[in-house]
Amino acid sequence: MATNEHGTSDVPREQDLDRLIGELETESARRRAEPGYPHDADARLHFELARRAPSPSSALSVSELIATVQDAVAASGLPTDAAGRPTRSRRRQRDIGRAQLDHVVGQLTSLGLAAAAALEAVTGRLERVEEQLSALSAPADETIEAADSPVADDILAPWRGQLAGELPTGTRVLYAQSRAAEVVAELRSAGIDAYAVTSSGVEHQPGPDVRHDDIVGHLRAVADGALGAVVLTGLTEAMTPSVIGPLVKELARVTRMVVVISPAPWWWRLRLGAMRADLSAGRPLDPDTWLHAFHGVAMVGTAHYDPSGQSYRVVARRLP
């Protein structure tokens, strides 16, 4: 069960409500398909329901479009009588033309509204499916600490005591993500202005020190050069190769120093077992791969294994 900032369940009887929401959505879909469903009214109300500001709405733009079409017909150079009106037969033709245009514009408007509503519904449904998939893939006991794997703990242990001494002071330091709350507290007590990002645990986090976010997404929202250092641990071994490139690029943009703490590939495979390792979405990189990747963004680094050889640390710095 998810926990909130007070350590209690954020959504009691969550499963019941999830089922209820599913039922309601199914029922709504059934009603939309009923013969008597008021599609016209629904389309008309669509823009009003989406009204966000007292500015002219899209519905008004459609009115303007109709007026423009009518003006264009009026200005089509038809012969007029003494009062400036089109002659009778021509005016009749123009009225018919205007009515036809109005009809076409009306049909197009309805079609547009219906399409917009359908697209928004599909988008919303996809978002919910993604949320449900995320929830399914999350650990059952979804707390920050429980979500940190034993593998991550093991690889962090040899390096944890040295971290504070190596990181810069007087600048903001980002830590992700093993034992986020504990490590950030240690770093802060050592005088380092650290905060953490974690993708495990509950979505809504207490306080300003630990936040729930995707690391690449978070880095994209950070200003150029705003961080003194970024420490990554318990994170990179779960990343797919397609994420590594954008991650390194963002790291090079926001910071001058990156520390990557990772399990050694051989030990990770041994620890997980061949089958789980092979089927895993991500896997730890060789330290040379990190060095090569950082070299590609003008950062130079060094790599060290811990005495057991089970984990390594890469420290990369931007070239002056």
Partner: protein, 404 residues
């Protein structure tokens, strides 16, 4: 801790909005944490004009020291013309035009800014982002600013000048996680200390029978309620249309009551009652008596009404397009939502027919409100954020300064 508050209007006469909420927060920080709080403000009461209605000078209100100064100018009607231009393409508006717009929106009050800059406050809370005091205050006070941006996804947020404003402050206090997400996807400020503080409501009381009488309803008559300003931007008119359509298809459905000041005329009929502004006890009585509350607005920054409904014992139905109310419903499990008429009809049918569901939703919503949005929690979260900003290395860096 000594906190300053730079705000365009302040006082007991200022009702609603983030200024009202921050007054309560300041008073609670004084009472519960022993903080010193000074307010730097104008004599304005109405945001429509920013006219100086309150006398300038220094005073004290509930333990908070208030420095009130005269504005050089209030809201200029010409800001509306510029607003039309800004709304079309805010991202390409030149800085000079944006500055002119900010000056026209007002209230322009350099004296209050000078007071804040000269003060010995550790931090200065600044709000809301759109007005002259916040824009000039954030740029001048820089990292000392604890920014209550109260941001919406509106064109003004995307003015290029806002990037400087948001990047210059020391940290952020947000109303909701969706506001935080909006600001962080708009500006590169995710590394600065931030926390979702939220707001709170104080539960009131009211007699359901008296409320029904005041609203023109029969004794014991079931009804559905919408509380808040009656205006198109709040979704009132579209809700009235939805309800009329619903009653066409469900002839026995209860009436819908709008309770709140009418800013844009809305006609009532057999199925829709427009009750206008009512006393607080009528509002609480109505919240306690109604079948459920509907919040149709797609554009809320927090929505206290949703929390009030849960405290009073009413479940809520919200517009799925509104991130803030959806956040409350999803986090609490206390409300349902609709996107189109089909959803609306389904949700209304279910809420009217299923009393057990109503009870479950209210239980969840009330629990969430009491747990997350109580004063001790809010004040603790605020204190933690303030200390993080004070301890932040960013505090010692130079902030961007608006050129003369």
């Amino acid at each position: 801790m000594k906190l300053g508050l730079l705000v365009p209007r302040y006082g007991v006469d200022v009702v609603g909005g983030i200024e009202h909420w921050l007054r309560l927060l300041c008073e609670h920080l004084v009472a519960m944490k022993g903080w010193d709080v000074e307010v730097f403000t104008t004599g304005a009461v109405s945001a429509a004009t920013w006219a100086d209605e309150l006398a300038p000078g220094d005073s004290e209100l509930e333990g908070v020291v208030v420095h009130r100064r005269r504005s050089v100018s209030g809201r200029d009607p010409r800001s509306g013309e510029l607003n039309l231009l800004i709304r079309r393409s805010p991202t390409v508006i030149p800085e000079s035009v944006a500055r002119r717009f900010v000056d026209l929106v007002g209230p322009v009050c350099p004296d209050m800014l000078d007071d804040a800059a000269r003060s010995d406050c550790d931090l200065v809370a600044v709000t809301p982002y759109l007005f002259w005091p916040a824009i000039h205050g954030a740029l001048r006070l820089g990292r000392r600013v604890l920014f209550h941006s109260a941001a919406h996804d509106e064109p003004e947020l995307h003015l290029p000048i806002m990037r400087q404003v948001f990047q210059s402050v020391g940290g952020f206090a947000y109303n909701s996680y969706c506001e935080q997400a909006l600001v962080e996807r708009t500006f590169p400020i995710a590394h600065l200390p931030a926390s979702v503080i939220g707001a709170t409501v104080v539960e009131g009381s009211g007699d359901p029978a008296a409320a029904r009488a005041a609203l023109g309803l029969a004794p014991g008559e079931p009804f559905v309620l919408c509380v808040g300003r009656v205006e198109r931007g709040k979704g009132s008119h579209v809700l009235a249309e939805l309800w009329r359509l619903y009653r066409q298809r469900r002839p026995g459905a209860p009436r819908l009551v709008f309770l709140g000041p009418v800013h844009e005329a809305l006609g009532g009929d057999d199925g829709v009652v427009v009750a206008g502004r009512q006393p607080e006890e009528v509002k609480w009585g109505a919240l306690g008596a109604c079948e459920f509350v509907i919040t149709p607005s797609a554009w809320e920054s927090f929505s206290l009404v949703v929390l009030e409904a849960w405290l009073a014992g009413a479940p809520v139905a919200v517009n799925r397009r509104c991130e803030a109310t959806m956040e409350h419903c999803r986090r609490s499990g206390g409300g349902l939502w609709f996107f189109d008429y089909a959803d609306f009809e389904t949700v209304a049918d279910r809420l009217l027919d299923d009393s057990a569901l109503r009870e479950l939703l209210v239980t969840n919503g009330r629990s969430y409100t009491q747990r997350v949005f109580n004063w001790p929690s809010i004040v603790d979260r605020y204190e933690a954020l303030a200390h993080r900003i004070l301890a932040s290395s960013a505090l010692h860096t130079t902030a961007t300064v608006l050129p003369a």
